[in-house]
């Protein structure tokens, strides 16, 4: 992809913008003595509306913050807009938030194309585009886009973690991959190939893409089985991952099955697919699964459960989306609290870029959020785990995706 | 009187076509409506069946039917053979005939189909064929056969001769005459071919731009040279 010209130009534009910081007034746009205005753009309707639970969890968490007295002595005023996962609509809604509603920052926008569409605009306007809900690696480019930051581990890093595991344990395996035909799927494959290094071409015997619009992945699974692969890497969103797990079991295919972290929720993927079909699945995670009995007495998840009961009773407690929404909004709360004495857009970005060992209630033990001025990837650690038919069993160490790089 | 019409008016949108027609049809008789293109003949038939908006009084067998819907007028025993024949082109000949008897009890239908086939032997040969594949004459026969399946008390015929070869027309009108004499079905016949119509009909009405210009027995009209010259052109 040749976007180097535009990238450089954006860099220059950003350079100018730094000078403009000095002129920022005492009271930042979107902040009053009693309120902070924050915008969220997510697909509440349309094909990606399954994710809308994240937005509603964010909303509920912010209500909880407000009920507990707000942050920095201010109530958070949240404006939630729907973009239907359509980039032009995202642009429209972002401009509405920034120019008409005059929000302080836009938080947790969902999707790669949608966030890409507004990334340049947000950076030109110098409005924080904080903790976007996508693992695409482009949303941590601190040099060119200092106002944009991701949150979850990026897909490339996760792909590398799996590659390392395969090289360690099954170095002579034949790999078959099911992937969603977009940046999400391709980032994983890129990570995987980078991790496998020279052996990638020998080991990967088949790559089967599917489109979000496909009704099923049945025929892909049949093709993968017939390719003779004995390691199956399942890079699919929950619905398709569940179909794949079920279909593989139905046709009696029992490879070493690795399912990506997007789809390792016991409640919303493994249960529909059939728990008995999911035995021995391998995955990696950074958050706790509320369906997993080992967290029954976990303090963090208890807080999450209490929150769900009180603020989002309609929400799905078996879904990883609500856990995600909780974790990411808790991180936002943390960042806002740390910027109380400099409640400007610049101040928030500074505080977002200086998180030290922050652990959310929903993160696995040992998974810590760390950022710096040159590290715009908040969560980079994950831990491998294996499904025993009932729950995930963590194994090995917490792996840092950025370390797994090499 | 089987049908009695008073002050019948009808329009297409803002465009008035019929300006108050009065006419009657006697039980067992054939009445014809004559007139030039655009005089309102087809409109009259459509108005009688409630296929367009109309006003005035229409009494069938003493009962007013001007507010009755098309589907229910059919149930009273009025069969309409529309302009362009209105066959169900995608259905078979036999199915077309069955449809004609839709509103009647199921048991009698099979015999009636046979009766229609007796009247139109060509239709029997083609009973399984799609109606759209029939020739124009055969389609007209099918349309009339379908109307007969209703065991109608009154049949409205809209230009049965249209677009047919002279020989076929002759055959067709022979059959209509047969229907009139043997089955005692009353008819209201709209025709361009006045000579043919007057031969079949007992009574005729002459329509001119939505009003009745003249009425009388067929014989009267046939013998009136002035009318023949100025209206009928033969």
């Amino acid at each position: 992809m040749n976007t180097s010209i535009s990238m450089r130009a954006i860099g220059t534009a950003v350079g100018f913008s730094v000078i403009a910081f000095a002129a920022a007034s005492a009271q930042e746009m979107g902040v009053t003595d009693s309120t902070i205005k924050i915008g969220i753009i997510q697909p509440l309707s349309g094909p990606a509306s399954a994710y809308s639970q994240i937005a509603y969890t964010d909303q509920a968490y912010i209500k909880m913050i407000n009920d507990n007295g707000g942050v920095c002595g201010r109530q958070i005023e949240l404006i939630l807009y729907d973009d239907g996962y359509s980039p032009p609509k995202t642009v429209e809604q972002a401009r509405k938030l920034v120019e008409s509603d005059e929000v302080f920052l836009i938080f947790n926008g969902l999707g790669t194309p949608t966030n890409s569409a507004i990334q340049k605009y947000m950076n030109a306007k110098k409005v924080p585009q904080l903790f976007v809900a996508t693992g695409a690696s482009k949303f941590g480019d601190h040099a060119n886009f200092p106002w944009t930051m991701g949150w979850q581990p990026n897909y490339i890093a996760e792909g590398k973690i799996y590659a390392r595991y395969i090289l360690d344990q099954h170095a002579d395996g034949k790999i078959g991959i099911l992937y969603q035909n977009d940046d999400y799927g391709k980032d994983y494959i890129n990570g995987l190939r980078a991790g496998l290094g020279d052996k990638a071409d020998d080991m990967i015997v088949m790559e089967q893409p599917y489109e979000v619009a496909d009704p099923t992945v049945d025929s892909q699974i049949i093709n993968l089985k017939s390719s003779g692969a004995d390691i199956f890497i399942n890079i699919a969103t929950p619905k398709f991952a569940a179909q794949a797990i079920k279909k593989a079991a139905e046709i009696g295919w029992k490879p070493l099955h690795i399912v990506n972290s997007v789809s390792n929720s016991v409640g919303s993927v493994l249960k529909p697919a059939g728990l008995e079909n999911a035995v021995d699945l391998i995955s990696a995670n950074y958050g706790k699964d509320p369906q997993d009995p080992q967290w029954k007495d976990d303090e963090g998840l208890k807080k999450w459960a209490a929150f769900m009961d009180k603020y989002y009773p309609d929400g799905d407690k078996t879904s990883s989306f609500t856990v995600f929404g909780y974790g990411v909004t808790q991180t936002l709360e943390h960042v806002l609290k740390n910027s109380c004495d400099n409640l400007t857009r610049e101040g928030v970005m500074k505080s977002a870029a200086s998180i030290k060992d922050f652990e959310t209630d929903t993160a696995l033990p040992g998974i810590k959020i760390n950022t710096s001025e040159t590290d715009f990837y908040p969560i980079e650690q994950m831990q491998l785990m294996k499904f025993n038919g009932e729950r995930w069993e963590l194994f090995g160490d917490v792996i840092d995706g950025s370390q797994a790089t090499n | 009187m089987l049908l009695s019409v008073r002050d019948l008016r009808a329009s297409y949108g803002a465009f008035n076509v019929l300006h108050g027609l009065d006419f009657d049809i006697e039980q067992g008789s054939v009445t014809t409506l004559l007139g030039a293109n655009g005089a309102g003949k087809t409109t009259t038939l459509r108005a009688l069946c409630g296929m367009i908006k109309r006003s005035g009084t229409i009494e069938f067998d003493g009962k007013p039917i001007n507010r009755v819907k098309t589907e229910d007028i059919v149930r009273l025993g009025i069969a309409h053979v529309p302009e362009g024949r209105g066959t169900f082109t995608t259905l078979s000949v036999e199915e077309n005939l069955h449809l004609g008897a839709m509103t009647r009890p199921r048991g009698e239908v099979a015999d009636d189909v046979d009766r229609v086939y007796a009247l139109f032997p060509r239709l029997r040969e083609r009973s399984g064929q799609q109606a759209g594949t029939l020739s124009g004459g055969e389609q007209q026969m099918l349309a009339i056969g379908r109307a007969l399946m209703l065991k109608p008390r009154l049949m409205l015929l809209d230009e049965p001769s249209f677009g047919l070869a002279p020989l076929i027309v002759e055959e067709l009108f022979g059959i209509l005459d047969d229907i009139k004499t043997n089955m005692k079905v009353s008819m209201l016949l709209v025709e361009q071919n006045a000579a043919l119509a007057l031969d079949l009909a007992d009574r005729a009405y002459l329509l001119e731009t939505g009003t009745i210009a003249f009425s009388g027995s067929s014989a009267e009209i046939r013998d009136d040279e002035a009318i023949r010259n100025s209206y009928l052109g033969y």
Binding site: N2, L44, D82, P88, R95, S100, G111, P113, A117 | -
Partner: protein
Amino acid sequence: MTASQDNVSIVTGKAGTRPVAATPGAIASLAVLALLVACPFFLKNFHIFQLNLMLVYAIAIMGLNLLTGFNGQFSLGHGAFYAIGAYTTAILMDQYDIAYFWTLPVAGIVCFVAGFLFGLPALRLENIYLALATFALAVATPQMLKLSVLEHWTGGVQGIVIFKPDAPFGLPLNQDQWLYFFTLAVGLLLYWAARNLIRSRAGRALMAIRDNPLAARSMGINVSLYKALAFGVSAFFTGIAGALAAIVIQFVAPDSFTLVLSVALLVGLVVGGVGWLPGAVVGGAFIVFVPNIAEEISKGLSGAMYGVILILLIYLMPTGAGGLIRTVTDRLRRR
């Protein structure tokens, strides 16, 4: 564009089929035009941006209308031409540093060719089959744009980010205002061209084909050629709209051009009025604003609200805004 030209189109559905009293229509269209020109000086940039999008969609709908309203061919796939136009502009600007205004004619011509070529096989397809073919086109578009072999140009799923132009000649306008006027000017130019096309011999031939293809053929009209040309011209308009959209939004990506877009254009066409060119503005407004209104009413049920509004609009005006205006003016005149 003169006032008298406008007035005819406001009142009659099919341009030039009926002579009409001049004043009310002329005043109405002048008022609308004046409003469109004045808007940017009163509104926030964000609203200018929305109005700009409205105009862009209006141009696309105008293109669709040429095909559906005036030639009787049906398309559920105009999003594809919109996408081709947008990508043409984006690639030209991103990879070859070509000025935005030059990319418009190129996008138009590329789309004309694409439309013409698509129109050729589509000729043999009637009604529902054509609907399916164009539907398939709409579904295939995002997948084609994602193709890895094309990624060098299209940027894959990530899309292409482009720059927003400044006002030229030191005009005292900000970027949004300038782009708005630019779009408005292009739109008016295309509108003028469309109206002249409809009134020309070729336009009459198109309508003759719509009303009765057999008769048109017997009149010596080359039906196949005209139908394919209609597809081409229609795609030309829609492609320019796509190009403008790319410039206005500064971003193209496969997910911008899904079936939803094609469907939205069709809905806009019907709401504005099939066969009534100015209806495109109404349709454009519908596409931009109604989803927002629906969202205001209810977040969770915004889709249902959108559907309900749409059904109510169709009840209110079964033949779109064009039909409504026609009925109203007819009634006024008869008084």
